[in-house]
């Protein structure tokens, strides 16, 4: 299983902050395309963290990964 986390505007757009999906040996980039299609969201400027560390688009998912979609941050 893979855990997906959505925050802020994305959470509202997806309608859910957290969900689980079946593990597939795909890259983050591929996962982003799937999400975009499924939820009609634009992830172009969205960073992705794998297990709480920012990850490159070409990183491949591992079983048990927690994948967070991080829209441009606005803390401070």
């Amino acid at each position: 299983m893979i855990t997906l986390l959505f925050f802020a505007s994305l959470k509202e757009a997806v309608g859910n902050g957290q969900m689980s999906i079946e593990y597939e040996p795909i890259t983050i980039e591929q996962l982003k395309r799937q999400i975009e299609v499924k939820y009609g969201v634009n992830l172009q400027n969205v960073m992705v963290a794998v297990n709480e560390e920012y990850a490159q688009e070409n990183q491949r998912l591992q079983p048990g990964d927690v994948i967070a979609f991080i829209p441009p941050v606005s803390g401070g």
Binding site: L5, F7, A8, S9, L10, K11, E12, A13, G40, V41, N42, L43, Q44, N45, V46, A49, E52, E53, Y54, A68, I70, P71, P72, V73, S74, G75, G76
Partner: protein, 156 residues
């Protein structure tokens, strides 16, 4: 040390507490940044804000910023607390305290910290106006990111 130097909390922040974490005999200067909720941004009146965080990762990123500071200013000690939840005008959203033996380093390291917070720490604010709401994207004052946030229509 049992103190938590890097915290995301839904409670009001006591500036004194954050500063006390970095005061030490070898440091003579503490530069502190206090970010408060501003009422007007670009002429538009904010009623209140709602902050949301990916808390566990945000605290990790705050710690990473402190490590980056340590690499650039080896004698610096940093503590950062960021508040989340509903914040009213003038409420304290973030406190950054950096102590160093000499003050110039403290100011520089502190500015570095706030810039980095606005780049890498997964915290978001939603503005509540009289006529609507919006999640705010990248707010780095040094640089404009017109495309730095998902557009409302993309998220509908």
């Amino acid at each position: 040390m049992n103190e938590t130097l890097f915290m995301v909390t839904d409670q009001p922040i006591l500036i004194e507490d954050v500063v006390r974490k970095v005061v030490r005999p070898e440091a003579g200067a503490v530069a502190v940044f206090v970010g408060t909720v501003r009422e007007f941004t670009n002429g538009k009146r904010t009623l209140f804000l709602q902050y949301e965080a990916y808390t566990t990762m945000a605290e990790k990123m705050l710690e990473r910023i402190a490590q980056e500071i340590k690499e650039r200013w080896p004698e610096a000690k940093t503590a950062i607390t960021h508040r989340i939840g509903k914040l009213d005008i003038s409420d304290v959203a973030v406190v950054i305290a950096v102590s160093t033996p000499h003050r110039k380093d403290a100011y520089e390291a502190n500015q570095y910290a706030i810039e980095r917070i606005k780049q890498i720490v997964p915290i978001w604010k939603k503005e509540y106006w009289e006529d609507g709401t919006q999640w705010v994207g990248n707010q780095l004052e040094t640089k404009e990111y017109p495309d730095g946030k998902p557009k409302e229509e993309d998220l509908a």
